[in-house]
Structure formats: structure tokens, C-alpha cells
């Protein structure tokens, strides 16, 4: 009789023992499958974050050794930067480099505008220091989508589009301000700047929300977030042509953070930057912050997989050892009829493997349910945990190795024993 037939007969006839092993292996396999699925979901989510956030390179003036002696005024000594600035030529050159997904220069409160044909949401004090009333601040940006408030999710564009490089005389305003003035995308607003003493008309290309409920008891209109907006950088250069000859800082986004170093190298090799007192640095802070929980989850799940595998092997070995002790009579009989030790170990392995195969089949739907629950528990991480067919080969390999180890450990002492001793003990 072949060892496979003996194994099948054992599994079919020794139902209680087989059921105990089956249940144990099913639970272990379910845990393993769920853990593997969670780990993969975390990897997928991390990859998604990587694509969404991208790698970031910051180009900024190098102030080391490039500051003047300083000017004394009533506030103290004011030092001025004497080096090169980030010019539009440099921005154009960088935007043409391979691997650059986008760029942004963001200057908060770069422009103060008073509403010529619209009004701001009023504050506690009406400080009408311009002919058109009180002014509110606007962030000058090349690409508003990349601005901190939009990146963090604090603000969301509800209508229209973002400011992009090449835009001119455009603005984004808050939904609250738009509703207050009956403004909409496609319309325009006229603003007066005390700094330039000029009225400029801006087209409203986008409306964002996220300012609601943040006004509080503001003293001035500029303290009300809903009154603040975004304008394009090109208009800033037009309005301040004498006082503004470059960007304060430029953030360059790479397609993939893993490619960020080569993009950085390509930027630093640009002739437009040669000899300039500008410095480049790679900023992974944002990606690290967003991906840290996922990386941490991956690490803990990897550890969990190792622990489950180790505990699973130990429990399986223990169960099989108990089984082998009860199996001693059969081993003695099989040895006495000339069945080789290897053939007996193969039978034990086949029994465990057959039970494991059925366990695996049962574990797939069971772990589907646990994976769903795990996905719900991990909702803050936006993980979609699913059991796919691709998990079965690695689980089969892990299971095979675990069973082989458990069988080797459990059968070692008994199979090594002298058949006469085994039979004497049976008697």
C-alpha cells in the first residue's frame, strides 16, 4: 500500500485527530493570509502616497556669505540678501526637465488687496486704511494645487481649477467670500493695492472651501481665513517689477520620490544655475509624514507574519508530536512489515499536507471575512484589504515549509527508534 493511500485512510478514519489539526491549520492559515493581505495593502497604499505626494526638491537662495553688512533702523539691524534670485528663466528651464511632475513657488501674504467691486466678510474693527476699505492678504503661487493648505487637505477646490504656471491675473477665492458677494467662477474681482497704488482686475478661476467655521472673533478682515485667497505669481512680477526680481523659494516635485535624487542632479546641472548663489535640497518631510504610519504598519505586519509563522510551526509541531506518540504502534507495525523509515515519514508528511490543503481551501473564504474586518479597522489608513489568488502560492510555500519542519521535528525521535523497542513498548 502506498504512503499516500495510507495517509488518506488515516485522515478519513481518524477524524477527531484530523479535525483538530485541520482547525489549527485553518486558523493559522487565515491569520497568515490576512496578515499578508494587510501588508500588501499597506505597500499598495504607500505606493499610492508616493505617486500622490511625489518627491520634493527645494531651490532657495544660499544666504551663507551672501548677506550685506546690514542697515540700522528703529527696529534693529536689517540684513539684505545680495546673491542671485530664482528667476522665471530658471523656473522655465526646470519645468522642462524629465521626471519633474510640477513646481511651485508660494509666498504667503505677498499681495494685499482691498475690494473695489466686492466686500470682505466684516471683522470687529473696520480699518479702512485704503480708499476702498480694508485689504486682505493673498498668497502668490505658481501652482496653487501644490500649496500647503491644499496639499494637507485643509482647503479643497469645489469649483473651477487651480492656478497653474503661465496663468496671469487670476485668483482663487473662498466659497464663503464668493457666497457673501454672489461671485462665481468665470467672474472677476477688482482689487486695490496700497503697495502699488493700482487697481488690478483678477479673473476668478477657482473657489475653495475649508475656511468655514474658522473666522471666530477676528479683529481685522485679514484675520478671517475666508477673506484670504490666492493669486498667480506672474501678476506679482508685473505689479512689483522693480521690487520683485525672483521667487523666494521654488519647490520642484518629482514623479517618484525614488527618482528625486536624479532629478535633483539634473537640476543642479542646468546652465541657468551655473555660478548662481542658489542651493538645492531634497525634502522628503511631507512624504515621510504621510507614509510613516504605512511604513510602521508594514513593519509591524511583517513582524506579525514572522510571529504567526513561528507560532504556527511550533503549534503544528506540538500537535504532530502528540499525534506521532499515539501513532507509535503504527510505526512499529509498519517497520515490522518492512516499510522504510523514509516511507513512514512521507506518510506523516502526506497526512499533514492533505489536511493543510483542505485547511488552505477553508482559510481563503474565512480570511476574506477577516481581511474585510481588518480593512474596516484600518480605515484611517484608507487600506483596501482583499484576499487575492496571488496570495495562495506564497502561503502554500510557507505552509509546505512549516509542515516539513513540524513533521521533521515531531517524527525525528520515533522514526529513529529501534523497531524492536517500539514493538516491545506496544506489547
Amino acid at each position: 500500500m502506498s504512503f499516500i493511500k495510507r495517509a488518506i485512510l488515516y485522515c478519513a478514519r481518524q477524524r477527531l485527530r484530523t479535525a483538530i489539526l485541520f482547525l489549527t491549520l485553518t486558523i493559522i492559515a487565515s491569520f497568515l493570509l490576512t496578515a499578508i493581505a494587510v501588508r500588501d495593502a499597506a505597500y499598495t497604499a504607500a505606493a499610492g502616497v508616493r505617486t500622490a505626494v511625489g518627491g520634493k526638491i527645494v531651490l532657495e537662495p544660499d544666504t551663507d556669505g551672501n548677506m550685506d553688512a546690514g542697515v540700522q533702523n528703529s527696529w534693529g539691524t536689517v540684513y539684505g540678501y545680495t546673491g542671485d534670485l530664482i528667476t522665471p528663466d530658471i523656473v522655465t528651464a526646470i519645468s522642462g526637465i524629465d521626471g519633474v511632475a510640477g513646481l511651485n513657488a508660494e509666498d504667503t501674504a505677498a499681495y494685499y488687496g482691498a475690494g473695489v467691486d466686492f466686500g470682505y466678510i466684516p471683522a470687529a474693527f473696520d480699518l479702512s486704511y485704503t480708499p476702498y476699505g480694508e485689504a486682505s492678504s493673498y498668497t502668490a503661487t505658481l501652482s496653487s494645487e501644490k500649496c500647503a493648505a491644499f496639499q494637507s487637505g485643509k482647503y479643497k477646490l469645489t469649483d473651477g481649477r487651480h492656478i497653474a504656471p503661465g496663468d496671469r491675473r487670476v485668483c482663487l477665492i473662498s466659497k464663503e467670500l464668493a457666497d457673501y458677494n454672489g461671485l462665481s467662477v468665470g467672474g472677476s474681482v477688482k482689487m486695490y493695492s496700497l503697495d502699488t497704488d493700482a487697481v488690478t482686475e483678477f479673473e476668478i478661476i477657482g473657489i475653495f472651501d475649508g475656511t468655514e467655521g474658522t473666522s471666530g472673533n477676528a479683529l481685522t478682515v485679514d484675520e478671517i481665513p475666508a477673506n484670504r485667497g490666492y493669486i498667480d505669481y506672474a501678476t506679482m512680477f508685473e505689479l512689483f517689477e522693480d521690487g520683485l526680481s525672483g521667487y523666494q523659494q521654488l519647490t520642484v516635485y518629482a514623479d517618484d520620490p525614488t527618482d528625486v535624487q536624479s532629478v535633483c542632479d539634473r537640476i543642479s546641472a542646468l546652465p541657468e544655475l551655473a555660478g548662481k548663489t542658489l542651493k538645492l535640497r531634497i525634502d522628503t518631510e511631507e512624504y515621510d509624514a504621510v507614509s510613516a504610519p504605512l511604513t510602521s504598519l508594514q513593519k509591524s505586519v511583517n513582524m506579525t507574519i514572522i510571529i504567526i509563522a513561528a507560532v504556527g510551526a511550533a503549534i503544528s509541531a506540538l500537535l504532530l508530536t502528540v499525534r506521532v506518540r499515539g501513532w507509535k504502534t503504527e510505526i512499529g507495525i509498519l517497520l515490522s512489515v518492512g516499510v522504510s523509515r523514509a516511507n513512514i515519514v512521507l506518510q506523516l508528511f502526506a497526512e499533514a499536507a492533505l489536511t493543510a490543503a483542505v485547511s488552505l481551501a477553508a482559510a481563503v473564504p474565512l480570511s476574506g471575512l477577516t481581511a474585510e474586518k481588518a480593512g474596516e479597522l484600518l480605515t484611517p489608513a484608507n487600506l483596501e484589504v482583499k484576499i487575492g489568488a496571488e496570495y495562495l502560492p506564497p502561503l502554500c510555500i510557507i505552509g509546505f515549509l512549516l509542515i516539513a519542519a513540524a513533521v521533521a521535528v515531531s517524527s525525528w525521535t520515533v522514526v529513529r527508534a529501534n523497531p524492536r523497542d517500539i514493538l516491545a513498548k506496544i506489547s
Binding site: M1, R6, L9, R13, L334, S336, V337, P419, I426, S427
Partner: protein, 209 residues
């Protein structure tokens, strides 16, 4: 001519306590042998050495003119000898037919029927058979193999007198009709009387008194 032979076979535990001392004895095909002796005299040890369940600490076990250690004890157990034990040693989750099939690819039912089991009994779990029936299954398993020597250790020890005599007759028939060499370790005089030859052991040595 002996098919199975112990030549100066000795066995001791840890090299100190000698269980068998230079035992030389031969067994021929077609004959039934009874090994007799008081408890602890080495009967079962001699049977274990003859069957390749253990190796002698001195001397040789010869089968068909060749030392059994040359081809390995597992080979000897598989091809040359078959065991019958006092407690039957059947695999308890198998049927009689499946137990017989452990040692042979021949159809088990004719052998079992020849030994008095019905077809229905041959498909029952062995634990649902009487002691005599279980021993017949053990004999059937031994006969189904191609072994030329059957080694029986107290095969009637757990059976009532009538059944014991029936089993002894079956074993004698095996020797006579099938030309097997049957070696039985026994305390039973009734079984011993059916033997062609008796070998008496005393304190690990052949006793020729």
C-alpha cells in the same frame, strides 16, 4: 538446508547484560519450529534478531546463505520474513483487507476467506473482530507477503484454547502446504506439540537437556 540461521548470535544490553549467548540454530522451509523456554530466557530476542527487528551484538543472522545485515534489516523485514504478534499488531483504523494490503499487492479477500473470514468481516474495522479473527488477519497479512519465513511471537497467547488450536493448525498448514518456514515462540504445549522441531532456550543459550 536451513533457510534462516543464527550463527553464534549474541545479544546484550549496553554490552553488560547478556540476553543471548552464542546461539547457533537453523530453520528449514516447510517446517514448523517452536521456541520454548522460561520467561526472560531470550526467546523473543532471538525471534527479533531472526526477523531483523534488531542487530545481534555478536555473531550473524543468515538468510538463504547471506548475512542479513548486507542488504539491510529493512530489506530483510520487507522481503524475507513476516511477523505475527501476540497482540496481533493490526493497524486499528484499517479493515482486515487494508491490513493485508500493507504487505502485498495481491487481492486480500481470497487469503482472508481462506483463513475463515467472510467478505463482510473483511471490510469491517479490525477492532470489531474477535481476537481469533484478528489473529487470522495477522496471519493473512504474513501469508500475503512473499516472505518465506513466518516468525510468530506467542501468536495464541491472547486466545482461548479452542481458538489457539485452530490458529496453531493454520500455521502448521502454512508450513506444510505453502512450504513456509514457521518459527513460533510459545509457552503453549498444544502449539509446541504441532511443531516439527522444538528449540529450548535457557538463560540465553540453547538447552539440549
Amino acid at each position: 538446508m536451513s533457510i534462516l540461521e543464527a550463527r553464534n548470535a549474541a545479544y546484550s544490553y549496553d554490552g553488560k547484560k547478556a540476553v543471548l549467548k552464542n546461539v547457533t540454530v537453523g530453520f528449514e522451509s516447510g517446517k514448523i519450529y517452536a521456541i520454548l523456554g522460561p520467561s526472560g530466557c531470550g526467546k523473543t530476542t532471538l525471534l527479533s534478531l531472526l526477523g531483523g527487528l534488531d542487530s545481534p551484538t555478536g555473531g550473524q543472522i543468515i538468510f538463504d546463505g547471506e548475512d542479513i545485515s548486507k542488504r539491510g534489516l529493512a530489506f530483510h523485514r520487507k522481503n524475507n520474513v513476516a511477523f505475527i504478534f501476540q497482540n496481533y499488531n493490526l493497524i486499528d483504523y484499517m479493515t482486515p483487507a487494508e491490513n493485508v494490503a500493507l504487505t502485498s499487492k495481491k487481492p486480500p479477500l481470497p487469503i482472508l476467506e481462506r483463513l475463515g473470514l467472510t467478505r463482510e468481516e473483511a471490510k469491517r474495522n479490525v477492532l470489531r473482530l474477535s481476537g481469533g479473527q484478528q489473529q487470522r488477519v495477522a496471519i493473512a497479512r504474513a501469508l500475503a507477503s512473499s516472505a518465506r519465513v513466518i516468525l510468530a511471537d506467542e501468536p495464541t497467547g491472547n486466545l482461548d484454547e479452542d481458538t489457539a488450536e485452530e490458529i496453531a493448525d493454520v500455521l502448521r498448514d502454512c508450513a506444510r502446504k505453502l512450504n513456509k518456514c514457521v518459527v513460533i515462540v510459545t509457552h503453549s504445549d498444544k502449539v509446541a506439540k504441532r511443531a516439527d522441531e522444538t528449540v529450548r532456550l535457557k538463560r540465553g543459550e540453547i538447552y539440549r537437556g
